[in-house]
């Protein structure tokens, strides 16, 4: 059980690292958020799953189980709010962008 937990925790740290590399390498705020939400959310969820396997179903395990759905909803809603906020604030899409359907829409 402990070995499975360690494997999950190591995978999670690896994905968090990928997310951070993406945060530095990708060109604009929208693409950076892509890597920040996806890699970091699943990486952290993987760490929490590792905690569940490591401790079993006692208090730490239960807290980890509750934290996973909370993290999912919080990360997705935060990403959505950041993207929309950045767009309304006037941050331009990067040079590589090929399409922008949102440009002519009345923003609320």
């Amino acid at each position: 059980m402990e070995t499975i937990g360690f494997i999950f925790i190591c995978t999670g740290i690896l994905f968090n690292l990928f997310g951070c590399i993406g945060l530095i390498r990708l060109p604009d705020v929208y693409n950076r958020l892509q890597s920040a939400t996806k890699c970091v959310t699943l990486g952290t969820c993987s760490i929490l799953a590792g905690v569940i396997f490591y401790y079993g179903f006692n208090d730490a395990g239960f807290k980890a189980i509750i934290a996973i759905p909370l993290l999912f909803f919080a990360a997705t809603v935060a990403a959505h709010a950041l993207v929309k906020g950045a767009y309304i604030f006037g941050v331009k899409l990067g040079d590589k962008s090929v399409k922008d359907d949102y440009k002519d829409v009345p923003k609320s």
């Binding site: 990928f18 990708l26 892509q34 939400t37 996806k38 959505h80 929309k84 962008s97 949102y102």
Partner: protein
């Protein structure tokens, strides 16, 4: 009635979160639950009939498996794009038509889109959702609607509508 339901739910949630039965913990939990019920009571569900239909729970479980799989794929996708020396990205914001009616279904679909490969939902206006896509595969609206939301829409329709 709504307020009492929210109070009970949030108190049970608090008990799981703290995982101890000290008197001080319970008092804090009761106070916090009362505040939560007072603020969010009016947003609670209007009717409970959908909660008593077992086929919805079945589809929810199926959906959770599909969602987890897509989520893992999303991570490998982003990791590949990030670590590739040439960074194969072609970002853009596209407009996708939704076939869903209720607000909760739209919210869940937007959240699912954010967690799937290369897409973040930017805004929902009416029944159209604007999605930032890290690699725009095609210019054809029907094709990218299928790629972005087609996988989830039928399950979400069965669960929430």
């Amino acid at each position: 009635m709504k307020y009492i339901a929210i109070f009970i739910l949030s108190f049970i949630f608090w008990l799981f979160l703290t995982f101890s039965l000290d008197l001080s913990n319970i008092i804090i939990g009761v106070v916090a639950s009362i505040i939560t019920a007072f603020i969010f009571g009016r947003y609670f569900l209007k009717d409970v009939i959908p909660f008593l239909q077992p086929q919805r729970y079945f589809w929810l479980i199926v959906y959770l498996f599909i969602f987890t799989w897509e989520c893992i794929k999303a991570n490998f996708d982003v990791a590949y794009r990030v670590l590739h020396p040439a960074m194969p990205i072609k970002p853009g914001i596209v407009k996708v038509k939704l076939g869903l009616k209720t607000n909760i279904a739209k919210t869940i679909l937007a959240n699912s889109i954010t967690m799937t490969p290369g897409t973040i939902s930017v805004d929902i206006i009416g029944d159209e959702i604007y999605v930032h896509w890290i690699y725009v595969y095609s210019e054809n609206p029907e094709e990218y609607s299928q790629r972005i939301s087609g996988r989830f829409e039928k399950y979400i329709k069965k669960i929430f509508e």
